[in-house]
Symmetry: C2
Subunit: 201 residues, 2 copies
C-alpha cells in the first residue's frame, strides 16, 4: 500500500465516522418527529389532514427502515483495514456509496418535512423541538452533500449520481438568507430556478 | 443449463417486460403530474402552499431521476440470455433487485401524492386526469408488490428488504373498500394498524 493510498483509506474512515454520527443522529430525530406526528394522525379532524400527516409519517418510516440497514454497513466499513475494501471493485463498497447518495436526499426531504410541520405546529413546545431538529438536519444535509461531492470525485468509479443535476436547486433550504420566520421565506422563482422537465430525460 | 433453470430465466424475462412497461408508464405519469403542479407552485398564494407543492414536486423529480437510470437497466437485463446473469452472484442483478424494491415504495408514495392532490384539485379537468393516473398507479403498485414478493423468494440471496415489515400496512391505499369519494376514506386505526416504532429498530 503506498502512502497516498493509505492516506485515502484513513480519510475515508474519518468520513465514515462522521456519516455514522450524522445518520445515528437523524435516526433519533426521525423517531422524535414520528412521535410528534402520531397523536396528530390519531386526532385528525378530517381525511385530508389524516392522509397528509400519515403520508409524511410513512416516508420517514421508510427512511428509518433504510437507515437501520445503512448504519451497520457504515460501521462495518469503519472497521475495514484493507485498501482493496474501499475500491470500486468491491461491490459492497459501491452499495455503501449508492445508499449514502440516496440518504442525502432522505435528509433533504426530512428538512422539508420539518419546515412543513413548522407551519402548523406553532405552539412553543413543538416549534422549539422542530427548530432544533431542523437546524441540525440542515447542517448535516449540507455536510453530507459536500462530503459526497468529494468522495464521488475521488472514487472515480462507474457510479453515476442520478440526482446530481438536482443539487443546485436546493439553496431554498437555507434559512440564513431569509427573514427570521418559523418557516423559510422563498420565492417561486427560487424554487423554479434551473429546472426543466426536459433536462431530466 | 437445466430445464428448470431455463424456465427461471424465461419467467424473469417476462417479469422484466412488465416492470419495463410499468416504470415507463409511471415515468410518463410523473411528467404529467409535475406539469400540473408547476403552475400551482408558480401561483401559490402563500409560502406554506408553495413549499407543500414544491416538496411533492421535488420528491417526484427525485423519483424521475432514479427511473431514468432504472429503465435502461431493466432493458439491459431483458436482453441478457445467460442464466448466470440472473444470479445473486452477479452484482448488477442484485442492484437491479434493490432498485426495483426501492421503486415499489416510489410507486406507493406516488399514489399518496395523487390522493393528496385529489383533495385540492377538484375541477373536472384535473380531477379526471388525477383519477386516471391514480387508478393505473395503484394497480401497478399492487402488481410490482406481488411480483417482488415472488422474485425475492425465488432469488434466495442475501438481499434483505428493509421495508418488508411495512407492506401489511399499505391496504389503506385500496379505494375499493371505501365509499366512492374522490380521495380515500380511511380511519386513523387503519393507518396505525400494526405499527410500532420499536418494531423497526
Amino acid at each position: 500500500m503506498t502512502v497516498v493510498k493509505k492516506l485515502g483509506v484513513l480519510k475515508m474512515k474519518e468520513e465514515l465516522k462522521i456519516f455514522y454520527q450524522i445518520f445515528t443522529t437523524t435516526k433519533d430525530a426521525i423517531e422524535k418527529f414520528m412521535n410528534m406526528l402520531d397523536p396528530v394522525i390519531q386526532n385528525a379532524t378530517d381525511d385530508h389532514e389524516r392522509l397528509y400527516y400519515h403520508h409524511i409519517f410513512e416516508e420517514e418510516e421508510q427512511r428509518l427502515s433504510r437507515l437501520v440497514e445503512l448504519i451497520p454497513l457504515i460501521s462495518k466499513f469503519e472497521n475495514e483495514k484493507e485498501e482493496k475494501d474501499f475500491a470500486p471493485t468491491n461491490n459492497e463498497f459501491n452499495r455503501l456509496l449508492q445508499e449514502l447518495n440516496l440518504e442525502k436526499f432522505g435528509l433533504h426531504n426530512f428538512v422539508e418535512h420539518l419546515d412543513l410541520a413548522l407551519f402548523r405546529f406553532t405552539d412553543e413546545e413543538r416549534s422549539t423541538l422542530l427548530n432544533q431538529l431542523r437546524e441540525v438536519s440542515y447542517k448535516d444535509y449540507q455536510q453530507v452533500k459536500a462530503m459526497l461531492i468529494d468522495i464521488n470525485k475521488r472514487f472515480d468509479n462507474d457510479y453515476v449520481d442520478p440526482h446530481a443535476h438536482h443539487d443546485h436547486d436546493h439553496d431554498h433550504l437555507d434559512r440564513s438568507v431569509t427573514t427570521s420566520t418559523a418557516a423559510p421565506v422563498t420565492t417561486s422563482a427560487k424554487y423554479k430556478k434551473g429546472f426543466t422537465v426536459g433536462s431530466l430525460i
